[in-house]
């Protein structure tokens, strides 16, 4: 029996989950580069900042002293690459005593919405 045909690529959404702090590890930077590549190729792309990942969007941040590119500034390029769907886990912000005024982009969503996002994404890349 033949396998069912693969869904048309244009119907599929890619979700990139950012779970790590912006510095100390290249995951944040390379994850963001993957998100920019998804956007550049015209794929429907969602990004979710959760757990330590929410620190990536904190503004102001200055990484000059550790000779790293500013992660929040790099993330602000997402819409330029067609990635408009930027989601932030509300609980992760609360746990870190952060509020919407501390971050520079994205829409804050609650745990139920996070679950729905994970459940409905066909491809999930976790960084």
């Amino acid at each position: 029996m033949d396998k069912p045909a693969i869904e048309k690529p244009e119907d599929r959404a890619i979700l990139l989950v950012f779970r790590h702090a912006p510095y100390g590890n290249a995951l944040a930077r390379e994850g963001l580069e993957a998100a920019l590549a998804c956007g550049a190729m015209g794929a429907t792309t969602n990004v979710l900042y959760i757990n330590e990942g929410v620190w990536q969007l904190v503004e102001p941040q200055d990484s000059h002293a550790i000779d790293c590119k500013n992660q929040a500034a790099m993330a602000s390029a997402l819409p330029l690459y067609g990635v408009e769907a930027i989601w932030i886990d509300e609980d992760s912000l609360k746990q870190r005593n952060l509020t919407s005024t501390d971050i520079n982009a994205g829409k804050i969503i609650d745990r139920t919405q996070v679950q729905a996002l994970l459940a409905t994404s066909q491809a999930i890349l976790s960084f």
Partner: protein, 189 residues
């Protein structure tokens, strides 16, 4: 004796045979299990004059693996390798392996392990060779970490390439393509 009809494009011969043996509770030395390979299962059924006991995978999936973990330091790469083997042996297929972040070190031919320890890069190369897998190493991540093929090594004036056999270097577009076309993407790292 049980006969199995296996679609040859979803499974390599070895994976299929191991699957049949496991289903029959046989070990690899047993000869009482015969595996039949045929390109088109439906066509084969129409032509077959013998009644076959057919075992099929309920939900064959086409996986893409994103490997972020390096060899040795963490278990991520070893888990990815075991997942790949289990998926192939279970009748699933692998659309692409994509090595990114520290995972690019799995494609370094310079990794050398003590005799009593297994070498993950070597095992990856063997799995890729055995199942003819598509394996891509992110060129930007690999170049930064000193994993270069001959061509890149020459381009950057380095003494020699160190990319393990079976891999090719390419861009993040290959990860996007895999995300769009595989049934599932599994991240290890």
């Amino acid at each position: 004796m049980a006969n199995y009809c296996i679609k040859s494009d979803t499974m390599t011969q070895r994976g299929a045979h191991e699957f049949c043996l496991q289903n029959e509770g046989l070990n690899a030395n047993s000869v009482s299990c015969q595996t039949i390979f045929y390109q088109n299962l439906l066509e084969y059924l129409q032509l077959a004059s013998v009644k076959l006991l057919i075992k099929q995978i309920a939900n064959p999936m086409n996986f893409a693996l994103l490997i972020l973990g390096p060899p040795y330091s963490t278990q991520a790469s070893a888990s990815a390798l075991r997942f790949a083997r289990a998926a192939l042996n279970g009748g699933h297929s692998i659309y692409r392996l994509f090595f990114y972040h520290d995972g690019v070190h799995n494609a370094s031919a310079m990794v050398t392990t003590p005799q009593d320890e297994s070498s993950l890069p070597q095992q990856w190369s063997e799995l890729i060779e055995q199942h003819q897998l598509d394996s891509v190493v992110c060129i930007a991540a690999a170049t930064r970490r000193g994993v270069l093929n001959e061509q890149e090594a020459k381009r950057f004036g380095k003494t020699g390439g160190n990319l393990s056999p079976g891999h090719e270097v390419s861009g993040l577009g290959q990860l996007v393509d895999a995300s769009l076309n595989a049934d599932r993407v599994m991240t290890f790292g």
